[in-house]
Amino acid sequence: MTENPVPQPPADNRQPLSLLNDLLISGMLTCLAFILAKLLPALYPAWTVRGLPLMAFLVSLEGLIAHRSRAGRPKVIETPFLSTAAEWVLILILTKLAIMLQGGLAGIWQEILSWQQGFFRHFFEIQYGLVIFILFLIWGITRLYIEPINQLEEDKNLMAQEKLGYAFIDRQQARRSLIGLIFTIGSSMIGLTVLLNGEIEFMPLTETPTRNFVSVLLIYFVLAFIFMALNQYAIMKARWFFNDIEVNADLSKRWLRFTLVFISIVIVVSVFLPTGFAIGFYPILSAILQGLIFIVGVLQFIVMAPIAFLLTLFSSLLSTEESVEQIRPVMPEFNPDTTEAVATLPLWDVVKSVLFWLVFIGVIVFAVLYYIRNRRGLKDFFRFDRLRAWLRDFWAWIKRGAKQLGAFTAETAQKGIQGVRLILTERRVKLPSLADLVKGISPRQAVILTYLDWVRWNKENGLSRRESQTPAEYAAAIRTRWPEVEAPLKAFTNAFIQARYTRQAIEKPQVDAAQNLLKDLKALIRQAEANPDNLKNQAST
């Protein structure tokens, strides 16, 4: 390609494409006629007519061609009713002739003779009537195809007018109409096939094998897909033309080839995919659930086994043999209900069933998701925003709660540890009081102990007693520092000297007096330490 040229209107290849479309439609309706032809003997056992699909093909093709030829003529000289009537007279005669020919020349002669005994009764006999009914149905369906087909087919002049804005054709709507028509007929055909192959009491079974019906259905849908692909090409080509997009000349041929390859791949895959299931959905689901439960049981066993073993050991220590038996874990057994059912089936059927349900459920899930994704309202509805927000809030709440709980636990634990530590500390520091200690000893020892407590207390306050100091010297040293304690100190020191260095009897009241003196001494010294000015004044005075 060189410079971007101005796109020309699509090449006028309408004739071959129209012919191809006609053949495809006629082919599809022939498939319908085939199934109807199989239905008629079931309804009317005396049915002997053959070649109904061929007749349907010809009638359909004739209908399409006749319509196209009429469409090409000016509307002034066109008389639709007369044309249609002539068309039907021809169809009636040719159909009768075709049926008569099936009976041979003798049959034709016999038929003609029978007309003398009542023309309408013998001419329009039941089989002929049924054939005409089927053909009229086919012809009518053919007419339904014509309008959308006309809209979708390339028309150079019309497209040029559309581009200028003088005309508008809703091609997508036409395509939707065609799709609706194709799949309605297809559904009917599938329904009839199921009816004919099913075990229905009032319907005699057809002798035609199922594969024939499947083949006819496949042919119908292959033709339908090719037909749809051609229409899609027409839509795309029109769009490209309206948007001034240059299109490669060989695209139409490639489109057809590609469609054939594309559909062939799908058919090959579709034919080999399982179409039957020996095991129903619920047994399969039940088996899967049981399998899951079995896996959970195995995991539980793996987790519980060591714990159970430890419990067993403890139990053995306590010699409770009964409990050992009770807490022994049991390996779960996988025993689905479908085992018996499956056992009687070949393995391939089981695999096919599982595969079928997997494919089936997968396709349904995918179709639903795709449908939701392409519907904005539904998509918004199923966005789970609220649920997600709620879950997020809930999770935040859980996290916050856990955090608070952790903080509370840590604080409590810390407090507990501190409390324990404090208790231990107090226990270590809080030695028995002097009053408690002296309760259990003799008064002499109590007085001496009281004095020792006095010495210890002074040491803590920075006035240690040297070993060389006598109690009187020590008292003098204290007096030098705290003169205000002179009187009680003298009495206290004398009490100690009496208890320590004499044999005089020491009684309980003396112990109490010594302890009271000690209290007074300590109080005075504390007071003096709190008011050093007083101390200095006192010292100076």
């Binding site: 971007n4 799949f183 297809g186 096939t193 199922t210 997009i245 995918f366």
Partner: protein, 397 residues
């Protein structure tokens, strides 16, 4: 696909409740076509590679040939590939490249088109979008975008062969008759020592050879340190002709750069325009320099530059005063000069620079500007068109 959904539901019902094999086959077929189309489209598009081959720099009015190569690197053929390449309106007159074609297995397709460089600038070729779909139209067409690439078109250059500009720089490349400044690197000859000659001028080798005191004679010369101050602030231009005037200003700057390059003068560029490459006002000036590389740098910036909003003219001149060395010729190109700008330029003159004002386009108060400029002893030239720019060069001589 949505059109087929009722039918699919019908098939599912038949398949499950009646265990109908034919229904399932058809069901698989429809879903298979859909899935295959979906997968095919996405996979095929992922392996499409697009390359754009062209000269990414061009001069004004040149034709740029672009070759777009679309390659399918996948083993999956692509039935139809719609390509849409957006192109700048100024280069293609609004015609984008749009095409539909098929791509076979590992095949490639080439699209050639030409762009005409009608306008200087910094243009984006692209972005390019491609889309493809399945033959039956069951799947929504998949689309992929490819990033754009850049094309720089240099501004127009007018021949200013006779342009004469003053300079105060004593040593340089332009020979002058005025012997006030002599260039010691330009030896003209020797003569006998005369009373009053500097001892520094004594040529001792010649003196030794001749046996008499000889002194060197030097040529007088100047150097033209040129700096273009391109004012692209919107307020500086007459709003009615702002587009043409700014383009003319850029043309004048480019022409001066070309002239300086030809004459081997140093040339720098300061501007307050917007650089679309960074999306910001040009903060850093191109310092004075020589040579082809430097010239291309200047042209690159001039090709991209657009009207700016943020940096004022006064700030631009102040920056120039602070940055430029003594004796530099400062060519202030703008669409008009404000009182403040006159004062700043006068200050620049007092600071030893040589300001020259070049007004382009259609200044609103040209006569008034001339009067003020003469009052400040600042040379002022005006050019309303490219042709006037050429003749102005002659007048300057």
């Amino acid at each position: 696909m949505l059109d087929y959904l009722p039918f699919l539901i019908f098939l599912m019902i038949l398949a499950v409740f009646l265990q109908a094999g034919p229904a399932l086959t058809v069901f698989y077929m429809i879903v298979g076509i859909f899935l295959l189309g979906l997968w095919w489209n996405k996979r095929a598009l992922r392996h499409v590679k697009i390359e754009r081959h062209y000269e990414d720099h061009a001069y004004l009015n040149e034709i740029v040939h672009v070759r777009l190569t679309i390659e399918n690197e996948s083993i999956l053929p692509i039935l139809w590939l719609e390509i849409h390449e957006s192109l700048p309106v100024n280069l293609r007159a609004g015609q984008n490249v749009k095409q539909v074609f098929s791509l076979g297995i590992r095949a490639s397709h080439q699209i050639d088109y030409d762009l005409r460089a009608f306008k200087r600038g910094y243009f984006e070729l692209g972005p390019t979008s491609i889309s493809t779909g399945d033959p039956l139209g069951m799947v929504k067409p998949a689309q992929q975008n490819f990033p754009s690439t850049l094309l720089t078109i240099y501004p127009q250059i007018v021949g200013l062969s006779e342009l004469g500009l003053p300079s105060r720089s004593p040593f340089g490349t332009i020979q002058r008759q005025n012997p006030i400044f002599e260039d010691p690197t330009r030896l003209m000859g020797k003569r006998a020592f005369q009373s009053g000659d500097s001892v520094r001028r004594v040529d001792w080798k010649a003196t030794a050879a001749i046996g008499d005191l000889m002194v060197k004679l030097y040529e007088a010369s100047i150097a033209l340190n040129l700096t273009v101050l391109l004012d692209l602030q919107r307020e500086s231009y007459n709003i009615q002709s702002i587009h043409d005037s700014t383009e003319l200003a850029v043309t004048a700057a480019a022409s001066l750069a070309a002239w300086a390059k030809r004459r081997q003068h140093t040339m720098g560029l300061l501007t307050n325009g917007l650089d679309p490459h960074t999306g910001l006002t040009v903060e850093k000036p191109i310092p004075p320099g020589k040579g082809a590389g430097h010239f291309i740098n200047v042209l690159e910036l001039l090709a991209r530059i657009q009207i700016g909003e943020t940096r004022s003219t006064l700030q631009l001149i102040q920056d120039a005063r602070a940055r430029l060395s003594w004796g530099t010729t400062l060519i202030y190109i703008s669409g008009g000069v404000s009182t403040g700008a006159f004062k700043q330029l006068f200050q620049a003159r007092k600071a030893g620079l040589n300001p020259v004002i070049l007004l382009v386009g259609h200044p609103t108060h040209l006569a008034e500007d001339r009067r003020v400029a003469s009052g400040y002893h600042l040379p002022l030239y005006a050019a309303g068109s490219v042709q006037a720019l050429r003749t102005m060069a002659a007048k300057v001589l």
